[in-house]
C-alpha cells in the first residue's frame, strides 16, 4: 500500500481541524439554536438583551403630564386631543435631566402634514380641516394665529 496517497487527505483533515479550533475562539459561547428550530432560531442569544437595552427616546404623554398638566388638560379638551406632545415637541428622551428645553418645531411644514387640504374622496384626510398652502398666509407661521393646544382659539 502506497501510503503517500493519503497525505493530501491528512492536510485536508488538518485544515478542518484548524477551522474547528478557530471556532472555539471566534464564535461566542451562546451562539446556537435558541427557539423554534435551526431555520429560524440560529443566533447569538445575548443579542436579544442588547436590543431590549436600546435607549428609548419617546416617553409618551403620561410622562409629560407629570409637570405640564395644564397644557395637557387644555389639549385633551380640544380638537387636538389625539395629537401627541412629542409630535411637535420632539422626543423627550431624558428631559428635563439632560436638556431643559426641548427643540420645538414651529414650522408651517409640521402643521401642513395634516392640514394641507387634499381633496381625496372617501379619505380620512379629506375630513380634516385644511388650507391650500400656496393661498393661505404664505409669509406667516401657523402658530402666530392658531394655538396648537387649542386650535379653535384665535391667538391673534
Amino acid at each position: 500500500m502506497k501510503w503517500h496517497v493519503l497525505r493530501p487527505l491528512w492536510v485536508a483533515i488538518g485544515l478542518v481541524g484548524v477551522i474547528l479550533i478557530a471556532r472555539v475562539f471566534l464564535v461566542p459561547d451562546d451562539f446556537g439554536v435558541h427557539g423554534r428550530n435551526f431555520t429560524y432560531g440560529f443566533h447569538r442569544l445575548s443579542n436579544i438583551q442588547e436590543w431590549k437595552d436600546f435607549p428609548v427616546k419617546y416617553q409618551g404623554r403620561e410622562s409629560c403630564a407629570e409637570c405640564h398638566e395644564e397644557n395637557l388638560q387644555m389639549l385633551n379638551a380640544s380638537t387636538h386631543a389625539t395629537v401627541e406632545c412629542e409630535n411637535c415637541h420632539g422626543p423627550s428622551v431624558n428631559h428635563p435631566d439632560d436638556v431643559e428645553f426641548l427643540p420645538l418645531d414651529t414650522t408651517r411644514e409640521l402643521c401642513l402634514r395634516c392640514h394641507a387640504f387634499l381633496e381625496y374622496p372617501n379619505s380620512a384626510r379629506a375630513a380634516l380641516l385644511g388650507v391650500e398652502d400656496r393661498r393661505h398666509k404664505r409669509r406667516k407661521v401657523c402658530i402666530e394665529c392658531h394655538n396648537p393646544h387649542d386650535p379653535k382659539e384665535d391667538t391673534r
Binding site: 500500500m1 502506497k2 496517497v5 493519503l6 487527505l9 485536508a12 483533515i13 478542518v16 481541524g17 474547528l20 471556532r23 464564535v27 451562546d30 451562539f31 446556537g32 439554536v33 435558541h34 427557539g35 423554534r36 435551526f38 431555520t39 429560524y40 432560531g41 440560529f42 443566533h43 447569538r44 442569544l45 443579542n47 436579544i48 436590543w51 431590549k52 437595552d53 436600546f54 435607549p55 428609548v56 427616546k57 419617546y58 409618551g60 389625539t82 395629537v83 401627541e84 412629542e86 409630535n87 420632539g90 422626543p91 411644514e109 401642513l112 402634514r113 395634516c114 394641507a116 387634499l118 381633496e119 381625496y120 374622496p121 372617501n122 379619505s123 380620512a124 384626510r125 380634516l128 398652502d133
Partner: protein, 256 residues
C-alpha cells in the same frame, strides 16, 4: 508493493468519515437553553394597520427615524407610508417621497398635477416589517445573524451580520436595507426595546388617528387581537407563504 484499489478507497472513505464526526460540532446546542427556547412564549406580537384612518401625515415615519436612530436624511427607513391615487381613467398613481417622512402636502404626484375631479379614490397605506411566521429573510441568512425571537419579532445581530444582502433580496416586502452607518442589515423590529417594557412602538405612539396598533395575538383579552380575529382583515402578498403578521383593515386591491 502496490495497494489494491479497494484498500485505497476503504482508507479514503474511513478517513473522510472520521473527519466528518467533529463537523457535527458546527451546530451548537446547550440543553438548558434548548429547553428554555422550546418553552411556549405567552406573547406573539402582531400589528394592525387601519388604512381607513391614515391621513398621510407621516409623523410615524418621522418618529421611527428618531426613535431607532436611522439617519434622518438617508433615503432608507424602517417604516413608510405610500399614497395611492386611482384616477377615473383606470391609472394608479403611487408615490412615497422619502417614505412619507415629511407627510403629503400637495396633490401633485411625481410632478404630475392631479385634478380632484379625476380621482376615483385615494388613500394612504403604512407599511413596516411583517415579522412573518415563515420569514424568508431568516431562512437565507448564511451566518445566523438574523433570527426570530420566541415572541415573533425578527431581529438582526449587528455584531455578526456580514453584510451580504441576501436577506434584503429575499424579503418580498422590501422592508430591509443596509444601515448607512452600521453597515449591516436593518429593518423594523416593532420597537422591540419598547414593547419589551410594556410601551408601544414609536409609530403607534405617535399616530394621532389610531391607524397603527400593536397586538399580542396570544392574549384573547387584547382589544386589538379581538379586531384581528373578529373583523375582516387582510395581509400583504400572502402568496409567498411567509405568513405575515401585519394585518390591514381597508386594504385595497390596488395596493402593491
Amino acid at each position: 508493493m502496490s495497494c489494491s484499489r479497494r484498500d485505497f478507497l476503504k482508507d479514503a472513505v474511513g478517513g473522510t468519515l472520521a473527519s466528518v464526526m467533529p463537523l457535527s460540532a458546527f451546530v451548537f446546542l446547550s440543553t438548558a437553553e434548548a429547553q428554555a427556547a422550546v418553552a411556549e412564549s405567552k406573547t406573539r406580537w402582531a400589528f394592525l394597520v387601519d388604512t381607513n384612518k391614515c391621513v398621510g401625515c407621516g409623523l410615524c415615519v418621522d418618529a421611527c427615524k428618531n426613535e431607532n436612530e436611522i439617519p434622518y436624511d438617508a433615503e432608507v427607513t424602517r417604516t413608510w407610508v405610500e399614497r395611492y391615487v386611482i384616477t377615473k381613467d383606470g391609472k394608479t398613481h403611487i408615490d412615497s417621497p422619502m417614505g412619507g417622512r415629511d407627510g403629503y402636502t400637495t396633490m401633485d404626484i411625481d410632478g404630475e398635477e392631479i385634478d380632484p375631479d379625476d380621482i376615483d379614490k385615494a388613500f394612504f397605506v403604512p407599511k413596516l416589517c411583517n415579522q412573518c411566521d415563515n420569514p424568508a429573510c431568516v431562512q437565507v441568512c448564511p451566518v445566523g445573524a438574523t433570527y426570530q425571537t420566541n415572541d415573533g419579532v425578527v431581529l438582526v445581530d449587528r455584531d455578526w451580520c456580514i453584510g451580504c444582502g441576501y436577506c434584503i433580496m429575499a424579503c418580498p416586502y422590501g422592508v430591509r436595507f443596509f444601515h448607512p452607518v452600521h453597515k449591516v442589515a436593518d429593518k423594523c423590529n416593532f420597537c422591540y426595546h419598547r414593547i419589551s417594557k410594556g410601551m408601544e412602538p414609536a409609530c403607534v405612539e405617535c399616530c394621532s388617528f389610531g391607524a397603527r396598533r400593536i397586538a399580542n395575538l396570544k392574549d384573547p383579552e387584547d382589544p386589538v387581537t379581538k379586531i384581528i380575529t373578529t373583523e375582516r382583515v387582510a395581509v400583504l402578498k400572502d402568496e409567498y407563504g411567509t405568513k405575515p403578521h401585519v394585518f390591514y383593515l381597508g386594504l385595497d386591491e390596488n395596493v402593491r
